[in-house]
């Protein structure tokens, strides 16, 4: 008997389901960073606003990368519903700490898909996610560095202005 299903799709459905969840997570991250850009702009952190706007675009690119992979693999990507975006932050430190928490959650999710792909023998998905694993190391490192810079600079006096100016160093 010819295997029509296998001819139709190159990855396991478990991977497809988890990658669809990841699409949703990346879309949520993109919307969250856009909300942060708005907060920064409204509170006078104009460089940080540009930084988060760029982060938002990057998260959407990640989402589309997964979307395209699912199409290439013969799977069925779903356009995600994004709700529950937080627009309230206590301070610029709160914004960056929330960002780091978000990035850690994304890293955990990516690792979980890698482990599942390995468990079900889905080598294509596992190899596809290699780029995301390394990207997450870089993303976490960027936010950690910014938080370290904030810690060294301090938020007293002109500290907040210096912090916002320095965020520009991580935009390239």
């Amino acid at each position: 008997m010819k295997d029509i299903a296998r001819q139709g799709m190159s990855i396991k459905v478990e991977s497809m389901d988890l990658l669809n969840s990841q699409i949703k997570m990346e879309a949520h991250a993109s919307a969250t960073y856009l909300a942060m850009a708005s907060w920064c702009d409204q509170n006078g952190f104009f460089t940080s606003a540009k930084f988060f706007r760029k982060q938002s675009e990057e998260e959407r690119e990640h989402m589309m990368k997964i979307f395209d992979f699912l199409i290439d693999a013969g799977g069925s990507p779903f356009s995600p519903e994004v709700t529950g975006i937080n627009h309230d932050y206590a301070s610029i430190v709160d914004v960056f700490e929330s960002t780091l928490d978000h990035e850690i959650a994304v890293t955990k999710s990516i690792h979980n898909i890698v482990m599942k792909a390995r468990e079900v023998g889905d080598i294509a998905t596992e190899r596809f996610l290699d780029w995301f694993v390394m990207e997450q190391v870089e993303e976490e490192n960027t936010i950690r560095d910014i938080l370290d810079m904030i810690s060294v600079t301090g938020t007293e006096g002109v500290g907040l202005q210096v912090i916002d100016d320095h965020v520009g160093n991580w935009m390239d």
């Binding site: 029509i4 299903a5 296998r6 799709m9 459905v13 949703k24 468990e119």
Partner: protein
């Protein structure tokens, strides 16, 4: 046609010469492509069975399913939905595209 998996109410077939699948729903047999089969799986596995036991979430314990780009419409009860979930899970397992039944958390 080759039988992939049979449950109490439904049967999933593969038609090799037509390069498609068929699901026998009892009252009618539906021809589906692989992409449509993936879409049906998503719809069926996304149904919350817990809602069927909550009169506020699902008053009558019924699901209206539109399949194959609104070509077919089915009204199924709780037992039929459970049976269709089994058909999807076990069907993909038997086709070798799934290693474990279930998943779909999004």
């Amino acid at each position: 046609m080759n039988t992939i998996y049979r449950t109490t109410y439904y049967t999933l077939y593969q038609a090799t010469s037509d390069r498609c699948f068929y699901i026998d729903f009892g009252q009618k047999v539906v021809r589906i492509s692989f992409c449509q089969l993936l879409a049906i799986r998503h719809k069926v596995l996304s149904i919350s069975i817990e809602d069927h036991f909550d009169s506020e979430m699902n008053k009558h314990g019924l699901e209206v399913l539109q399949l194959c780009n609104k070509k077919h419409l089915f009204v199924l009860n709780t037992l039929e939905i459970l049976d269709l979930k089994e058909l999807m899970e076990q069907g993909f397992l038997h086709m070798g595209l799934s290693a474990t039944p279930g998943v779909l958390s999004a």
